[in-house]
């Protein structure tokens, strides 16, 4: 059974450094075209089904803005 992951990005903690899209091996993340409360272009999930739960993005994030949870497949 394929594992399903939930990626949560706290957009207002993101400073738009762009490290996480770079760290993701599956192009799950992309920088937004909108700005967050602080005025930064934040990271967002654009292709969740591709996520393999490696957590590289969460480890890479200097501001601990990314959480990865494994969900039970329906």
């Amino acid at each position: 059974m394929a594992k399903v992951f939930k990626v949560t990005i706290e957009k207002n903690r993101c400073k738009g450094c762009g490290l996480c899209p770079n760290a993701c091996p599956k192009q799950v993340l992309e920088m937004s075209k909108e700005i967050n409360d602080k005025g930064y272009f934040y990271s967002q999930v654009v292709n969740l089904p591709a996520c393999i739960g490696c957590r590289f993005c969460a480890f890479m994030c200097p501001d601990v803005a990314i959480s990865i949870e494994q969900e039970e497949a329906a």
Binding site: K15, G16, C17, K38, G39, Y40, P62, D63
Partner: protein, 354 residues
């Protein structure tokens, strides 16, 4: 002390507290807001004063007042906020008071954007506010260096009785790096016998920047000029990189761009093109003599900046017409990549555009 991982803005705040900067006034502005956020929590713990003012104009005048009363007063802001503070900074310089201002530079002109820039070089180095004054300007290129600079900034502000500007950029403010808080030792400072601490048993001290008598005003201008000449003799700071062997090109860069230049130099070295870097740490006083000395050994100089070309004027001024001085920069918040710097060097070596 142990190394801790800290964001640049928070590390600057903690370092200032440890240096005795217990009078802090601020107005939040991205990308330096974390300084204010950190100190809002930390200042009450150490018995310091934290006040968020109604504007940066008010901030600068609060710093002016606290400095006049003998406190180690300081503030932080980012480019548009520093512009608003410049009037107060001019008054502080004229009144010969010590104060430290940190500018976490963002893009401009105008409100600009919140990404890293070095577009405030002119403002910081050439005066900023009105009148004949200078700030001692220090530019860190890592979070550790920013931490080390804060005690130095407070010490030199007190020693010269002049505002000191620490100029970082959005990158230095937002980046997290391991830092160690050292306890630097400085020679004892003269007592602040000019401070307005209450005139009991002595003549009142007056903090003033108004001189209607032209002779008195010129006397002040001469006193200030003498300070800046002393800074030029004693406060020049820089780092040399790769200058111990022959090189073809001398890069001149400060702050974040200097780090990018170091990576570019490694890449160029691998291609057999020896390149050196001079990183000014003090922007005023500018290491003019060093630029000339190192520049003479190169075919040309390249000033690399996150601006449209500001420090390049000082490099040119120092170098005269002895060697060509070129410029490469990105702006708008775009941080140049090492590859772009490599290309900028190579295109000029091949006699391309100048």
């Amino acid at each position: 002390m142990e190394k801790v991982l800290m964001k640049g803005n928070e590390a600057i705040a903690e370092s200032a507290i440890r240096a005795g900067g217990l009078c802090y006034f601020c107005y939040p502005l991205t990308p330096q807001s974390e300084v204010a956020e950190y100190l809002a929590r930390r200042m009450p713990e150490v018995g310091g004063a934290y006040l968020q003012a109604e504007s940066e104009v008010a901030v600068a005048n609060m710093v002016y007042g606290a400095a006049g009363a003998g406190a180690r007063a300081w503030s932080t802001s980012s480019s548009p906020g520093i512009s608003l503070m410049e009037e107060g900074i001019s008054y502080i310089a004229a009144s010969e008071l010590p104060a430290v201002f940190v500018n976490i530079v963002r893009t401009g002109p105008g409100l600009g954007g919140i990404l890293p820039s070095q577009g405030d070089y002119f403002q910081a180095v050439k005066g900023g506010g009105h009148g004949d004054y200078r700030c001692l300007v220090l530019a860190p290129s890592s979070v550790q260096e920013a931490v080390d600079m804060m005690p130095l900034a407070f010490d030199r502000a007190d020693r010269y009785r002049n505002p000191v500007m620490v100029i970082g950029d959005g990158m230095i403010g937002q980046m997290m790096e391991p830092v160690e808080f050292k306890e630097p030792k400085f020679p004892p400072l003269p007592p602040k016998d000019w401070a307005t601490t209450g005139a009991k048993g002595r003549k009142p001290n007056v903090v003033n920047s108004l001189y209607l008598d032209p002779k008195a005003e010129e006397r002040l201008n001469n006193v200030l000029a003498a300070k800046y000449e002393k800074m030029k003799r004693e406060e020049v700071r820089f780092e040399e990189y790769n200058t111990d062997k022959p090189y073809r090109v001398l890069l001149v860069a400060y702050g974040t761009t200097a780090r990018i230049c170091k990576t570019a130099i490694e890449k160029l070295d691998a291609e057999g093109i020896p390149v050196a870097l001079l990183r000014p740490i003090s922007l005023f006083p500018f290491p003019e003599a060093k630029v000339l000395e190192l520049g003479r050994k190169a075919e040309f100089l390249l000033s690399v900046e996150m601006s449209m070309g500001q420090m390049v004027e000082d490099v040119h001024c120092a170098m005269g017409h002895e060697k060509p001085v070129y410029f490469f920069g990105r702006s708008g918040g775009i941080v140049p990549s090492p590859e772009e710097v490599v290309d900028a060097v190579k295109s000029r070596l091949e006699g391309g555009k100048s």
